[in-house]
C-alpha cells in the first residue's frame, strides 16, 4: 500500500479467557479516506479484530497479548473507547446492542455524547440520520427494545453516525436488513466516504456488495489473514468467487441445487 495508513493493526494476537487463542497475528491497514472490507467465514475473527481496534475487548475478557494498533500515527491500544470516539473512531457493534429502554431518538442522541456542538447542530445530524433511515423517524419515540430487528440495526448505525467520526468500524451492517436498505446503507457509506472523507473498515458477510463498494479487502480465516488485495482483484479471484460470492464457472448457482459434496475450502486456512 502506498498511502500512509490511517489505521494500522500490526501483528495482533488475541486470547479470550486466558486460554482461547483467536487472532494469531493479524495485520491490516486502512488508508485515509478509503473503504476496507474484512471478509471471512463465521468465527474467523472479524468481530474480534474490530473489538481489538476499538479496545472493547477488555469487557469480554479478551487480552491482546501481542502486537499493536495505531490510529493517525498514535498507539491506541491503551486508550479507552471514549478517548477513541473523541479522536474520531466509532464502532457499530455486531448484534445491534441498542439501549432497549431508551427511545430510538434517545439512542441516537447518546451517540452524540462526545460532541460539544450546539443543539442546532445536533438537530441537524439527527435530521440527517432520519433522512437516511425514514423508518427510524416513524419509530423515533418507541423504546428501542420494542422495535424490529432491522430497525434496531438501523438505529445502531445511525447512532454511530451521530458521533461524526472520521473513521467507522462497521460490523456486519447488512445483517437483518431488507435488500433495498442494504443498498442504501452502502450508499451512505460511499456518500460519507466521498463527501466527508470518512474511512471505513467493514466486516461483512455479504461479500458481493462489500467488494462492490470497498477499495481494498482482507480475507481472514481462523485468525489469520490469508489473502489481501484491491477489491476488484479479489472479486476476480476464482476461489473468492466460489466461496464468497457463490458464483462458479457457470455463473450463479441456485441455492436449491447445492449439493453438499461441494469442494471444501479447507486449503485456505
Amino acid at each position: 500500500m502506498t498511502t500512509t495508513p490511517y489505521l494500522s493493526v500490526n501483528n495482533v494476537e488475541v486470547i479470550y479467557d486466558h486460554v482461547i487463542l483467536v487472532l494469531k497475528g493479524v495485520s491490516l491497514q486502512v488508508p485515509q479516506g478509503k473503504i476496507v472490507a474484512l471478509l471471512g467465514a463465521n468465527g474467523a475473527g472479524k468481530s474480534t479484530t474490530l473489538k481489538t481496534i476499538s479496545t472493547l475487548l477488555r469487557g469480554e475478557r479478551g487480552d491482546v497479548t501481542k502486537g499493536e494498533v495505531q490510529f493517525k500515527g498514535e498507539r491506541i491500544d491503551h486508550l479507552t473507547p471514549n478517548e477513541l470516539v473523541k479522536r474520531g473512531l466509532s464502532q457499530v457493534m455486531e448484534g445491534r446492542h441498542c439501549f432497549g429502554h431508551l427511545t430510538i431518538e434517545e439512542n441516537l442522541l447518546t451517540g452524540a455524547y462526545t460532541r460539544t456542538d450546539s443543539r442546532a447542530e445536533l438537530k441537524q445530524s439527527l435530521e440527517k440520520v432520519y433522512h437516511y433511515f425514514p423508518r427510524l423517524k416513524e419509530r423515533r419515540s418507541s423504546q428501542a427494545g420494542y422495535t424490529s430487528g432491522g430497525e434496531q440495526q438501523m438505529c445502531a448505525i445511525g447512532r454511530a453516525l451521530m458521533a461524526k467520526p472520521s473513521m467507522i468500524l462497521l460490523d456486519e451492517p447488512s445483517m437483518g436488513i431488507a435488500p433495498q436498505i442494504v443498498e442504501e446503507i452502502f450508499g451512505i457509506v460511499k456518500d460519507l466516504n466521498s463527501k466527508e472523507n470518512v474511512s471505513f473498515l467493514l466486516a461483512e458477510q455479504n461479500t458481493s456488495i462489500a467488494l462492490r463498494y470497498a477499495d481494498f479487502g482482507y480475507i481472514l480465516e481462523n485468525g489469520r489473514v490469508v489473502m489481501e488485495g484491491a477489491a476488484a482483484d479479489l472479486s476476480c479471484n476464482e476461489d473468492v468467487k466460489e466461496f464468497y460470492l457463490g458464483v462458479s464457472g457457470a455463473g450463479r448457482k441456485s441455492f436449491r441445487d447445492m449439493k453438499f459434496y461441494r469442494r471444501r475450502k479447507r486449503w485456505l486456512a
Partner: protein
C-alpha cells in the same frame, strides 16, 4: 502433559455422559472419597471435624440447594435460611411427635416440608424476576422466622422459642461424637450431591438452565415455566431443608429461630457467587471460602499479635478485599478458575 484425555476414547454415549469423563478425574475423586471417609476421621482432630468439616459440609449442601435454584434455574433468592429453618424445625417436630420415627426419615420429612414452603413462596417467581424476586424472597425469610417465633406449637411451647435437637440415633447406633457426626453428614452430602449432579445432567437440569438462560425461548421449546420453576424451588428448598436440619442436629444442637436469620441467607448466597453460580463444585469451593477464610484470617491476625479490635476489623477488610480480588480475577467464581486451570493443564506445556 499429565492431565490429558488423549487416548481416552468414548465408545458409548453412556460413557460420554459420565460425570467425570476423564480417567484422571475419576481417580482423583476416588482418592478424595477414600481420604474423606477413611483418612480424615482417623487423623483429623475433633476440632477440625466438628468446627470446620461438619459446618463446611452442611454449608456446602445449603449452597448446593441455593445453587440449584439460583445458579441453575436462575431464580435469585435470599430466603435460604428460612428454608433451612423449616427443615430443622419440621424435623424436630416430626421426631418429637411421632415416637420411633427414624432420624433420617425425619430429615427427609423436614426437607419435604421445606419443599412445600418453597413451592408456596416460589409462586411469585412466575411473574417476578431478577433483583425484584430477590428482594421479594426476603418476605419468606422474615415471615418464616416470624412464624417460628410466634407459633409456640412449633417450638414445643418452649418459653423462649428455642429448640434442642434430639440425639441422632440410627438403627441403635448413636451419632454423638464428632467423627460419627462427620461421617453421617458426609454420607448425606455425598449422596445428595450425586443426586443433584444426576438431575443436572438430565432433562430436569436442562429445563432449569433453559429457563435461566432465556425463559421465553424455553417456553417456546416446550418447557412449562410454572412446573420448571416450582420444581426448582421445591428441590432447592428440600436441599436447604435437609441442610438446615443437619445444621441443628449435627452442628449447633440447641437453636433459636434467629440462628436462621438473614445473615445466614446472605452467607450462603456469597458462597455460590464466590464459588461459581451454576456449578456443583462451586458450591463446595464457595462454602470452603466463606467458612474457612475468616477462620484463617482470624488465626493469622492473632499470630500477628495485633490488638484484638484492630485484628477483627482488619479481618473484615481483608475478607471484603479478597472477595473483590477473586471476582476481578474470575467473575464466574472459583469453579471457573479451577476449570481454566484444568484447561491450561491440558495444554501444558504449551501456553495455548
Amino acid at each position: 502433559m499429565l492431565y490429558r484425555e488423549a487416548g481416552q476414547f468414548k465408545t458409548s454415549y453412556q460413557a460420554d455422559g459420565q460425570i467425570f469423563p476423564i480417567l484422571q478425574d475419576r481417580l482423583a475423586l476416588l482418592a478424595l472419597l477414600v481420604i474423606a471417609i477413611v483418612v480424615v476421621p482417623l487423623v483429623a482432630s475433633p476440632y477440625a471435624l466438628s468446627a470446620i468439616l461438619i459446618p463446611f459440609l452442611i454449608f456446602s449442601l445449603a449452597a448446593l440447594g441455593l445453587n440449584i435454584l439460583t445458579g441453575y434455574a436462575g431464580q435469585l433468592s435470599l430466603g435460604t435460611a428460612a428454608f433451612m429453618a423449616v427443615g430443622a424445625f419440621a424435623s424436630y417436630n416430626f421426631i418429637l411427635r411421632i415416637p420411633g420415627l427414624p432420624v433420617l426419615l425425619a430429615f427427609v420429612l423436614g426437607g419435604l416440608s421445606a419443599a412445600l414452603v418453597g413451592i408456596a413462596f416460589g409462586l411469585p417467581s412466575l411473574r417476578i424476576r431478577g433483583f425484584y424476586l430477590a428482594a421479594a424472597t426476603l418476605a419468606t425469610q422474615f415471615f418464616v422466622v416470624w412464624c417460628l417465633t410466634k407459633i409456640p406449637y412449633l417450638t414445643n411451647y418452649s418459653s423462649s422459642g428455642v429448640i434442642t435437637a434430639q440425639p441422632i440415633v440410627i438403627l441403635g447406633y448413636a451419632f454423638d461424637t464428632p467423627d460419627r457426626k462427620y461421617l453421617l453428614v458426609l454420607a448425606v452430602v455425598a449422596v445428595m450431591a450425586l443426586l443433584a449432579k444426576n438431575m443436572i445432567r438430565s432433562n430436569v437440569g436442562r429445563s432449569w438452565m433453559a429457563v435461566r438462560d432465556m425463559d421465553v425461548a424455553a417456553e417456546v421449546i416446550g418447557f412449562r415455566l410454572m412446573r420448571t420453576k416450582l420444581l426448582a424451588f421445591a428441590v432447592s428448598s428440600f436441599y436447604c431443608g435437609v441442610a438446615g436440619a443437619l445444621y441443628a442436629y449435627a452442628y449447633l444442637g440447641t437453636v433459636e429461630p434467629e440462628a436462621y436469620n438473614l445473615d445466614l441467607s446472605f452467607r450462603i448466597l456469597f458462597m455460590i457467587i464466590i464459588g461459581g453460580v451454576g456449578s456443583v463444585l462451586g458450591s463446595f469451593l464457595g462454602a470452603a471460602f466463606i467458612v474457612l477464610l475468616p477462620v484463617l484470617l482470624n488465626v493469622v491476625a492473632h499470630s500477628l499479635a495485633l490488638p484484638t479490635s484492630v485484628a477483627s476489623n482488619l479481618e473484615l477488610m481483608v475478607f471484603g478485599a479478597l472477595i473483590i480480588f477473586f471476582l476481578i480475577v474470575e467473575p464466574h467464581g472459583l469453579a471457573r478458575l479451577w476449570q481454566i486451570g484444568k484447561e491450561k493443564l491440558r495444554l501444558w506445556p504449551f501456553p495455548h
